[in-house]
């Protein structure tokens, strides 16, 4: 596999980084405190083309391959500290745009993909429930057949983007006795009678990405809004997760690069006991560990791009990358705080914000424990 990015991808990454530095992360310290989504930044991302990158041109996108998109996400992660916004972008892309592209009918693609690309629709995903997190296939939301449609009833938890979303991809079961083979995906538009966004959820990190409960009470959805076949919601969900696991970490990779650069600059300029703190082996070793982690993470992320661009399955590889990068990210964030000392612990510098964001990466898109389960399955254990 190629360990260095091609010139073209390097240019893409640099362009994304420049864009992020100039257009994203405005007033972040305040918005991070108040948990405020940056709708203007979302619009700017759409104008830059981020929301349409993996979508073919006939549906309003750019038709780029996954490896190109990873380079862009890495650049964005490096260029802005607003990881919440990047998390929202990822949720939108992998739980709405890609599943609709892969499993949608011609009408669904025509109706939804273009506005999802140009930013006029924001997508959210309703999968997790109060009692169905890692065991997602035990979900209880019911979809009862009713003439030419379904009536959905249930509550979804941890719905990223819910407070600002226009479109929801929701999973429900047509018959709990069928287990995974009863789960069915639906596209539901905001304003559909019986659908409402519940209480906003406050999070430890990724606070600029809004999250809420989603409640369906006798919510009638025509069969034309079913995404994929009845009882085949699991492949839709798995498709979402495979892409999300692969891509969401590219922005973490960028964040780790930015973090290392900031730590190196601080270690070179901050003097204690008469010399730069980087000259002390105990500090230098932390920076060395951060660099080693970064260099072991990058190939794992880009391997997913190569596999998916070649049309190959990347289930195990995505889980390996998700597990390794997220856990490395947390460790590097802790190291960064130690390098910055008391200043790293103060909220105004936002060094601690990286740590709070990083903890989320070991939980979303499947916890580290779930990633290990997937890898074990790949080993046929």
């Amino acid at each position: 596999m190629q360990l260095e990015l091609s010139e073209e991808r390097t240019r893409l990454r640099e362009a994304a980084e420049q864009f992020a530095r100039s257009a994203l992360g405005k007033d972040l310290a305040r918005r991070e405190r108040t948990g405020e989504f940056d709708r203007d930044a979302w619009r700017r991302c759409a104008e830059f083309g981020v929301l349409g990158m993996p979508i073919p041109p006939q549906f309003g996108g750019m038709g780029l391959g996954l490896s190109d998109l990873l380079a862009v996400m890495e650049g964005l992660g490096r260029g802005t500290r607003d990881q919440g916004l990047l998390f929202s972008l990822n949720a939108h892309l992998w739980t709405n745009s890609i599943p609709i592209l892969k499993f949608g009918t011609a009408q669904q693609k025509d109706k939804y993909l273009r506005p999802l690309c140009d930013g006029s629709l924001i997508g959210a995903n309703g999968a997790s429930e109060p009692d169905a997190g890692s065991d997602i296939f035990s979900l209880r939301t019911r979809a009862l057949r009713d003439g030419d449609g379904y009536v959905l009833t249930g509550t979804k938890m941890f719905v990223t983007n819910a407070p600002v979303a226009d479109l929801f991809v929701v999973y429900a079961t047509v018959d709990p006795a069928l287990g995974a083979t009863g789960i069915t995906a639906f596209i539901i538009e905001k304003g559909t009678p019986g659908l409402r966004v519940g209480r906003k959820l406050e999070k430890m990190g990724l606070r600029t990405s809004p999250m809420a409960e989603l409640i369906m009470e006798d919510c009638r959805v025509p069969a034309s809004q079913r995404l994929g076949r009845e009882g085949r919601g699991v492949p839709v969900f798995e498709c979402s997760m495979e892409w999300e696991r692969g891509c969401i970490l590219a922005s973490c990779l960028g964040a780790m690069e930015r973090q290392l650069e900031e730590c190196l600059a601080h270690a070179r300029s901050r003097k204690q006991f008469g010399k730069p703190i980087g000259k002390f082996q105990s500090v230098a070793n932390r920076l060395v560990d951060m660099r080693v982690r970064l260099d072991t993470c990058r190939p794992l992320v880009y391997r997913i791009g190569e596999l998916k661009d070649a049309g190959r399955d990347a289930t195990t590889e995505a889980a390996i990358a998700k597990l390794h990068v997220s856990e490395c990210y947390v460790k590097s964030c802790l190291d960064a705080i130690q390098v910055f000392g008391g200043y790293g612990y103060m909220t105004e510098q936002l060094v601690e914000c990286d740590l709070r964001d990083s903890v989320g990466s070991t939980l979303y898109s499947g916890t580290s424990e779930i990633q290990r389960n997937i890898i074990a399955r790949g080993l046929k254990l």
Partner: protein, 81 residues
């Protein structure tokens, strides 16, 4: 029927029971309750059978009783041909 049976046996032994003595897998071996077929592997097996035999299962076809053993799966596939 024998063809369906051999396709099922080959798939299960290769993907779900690697290293298992083939003689331990009988037509009546319980697949669901024994944990051989979990949520994900059920979906993969069903998709494989649809592709292999150019058939389509409805959600209601996939009730646990129809997935409980090789014999039950064999009957289910046969009913769609």
């Amino acid at each position: 029927m024998n063809d369906i049976r051999s396709v099922l046996r080959a798939y299960i032994l290769e993907n779900l029971l690697p290293g298992e003595d083939p003689s331990n897998l009988t037509d009546d071996t319980e697949l669901k309750e024994s944990g051989i077929l979990d949520s994900m592997s059920t979906l993969k097996l069903v998709t494989y059978l649809e592709e292999q035999f150019a058939i389509e299962f409805a959600a209601a076809d996939l009730e646990p009783a129809n997935l409980s053993s090789i014999a039950a799966l064999q009957r289910l596939v046969q009913s769609k041909l």
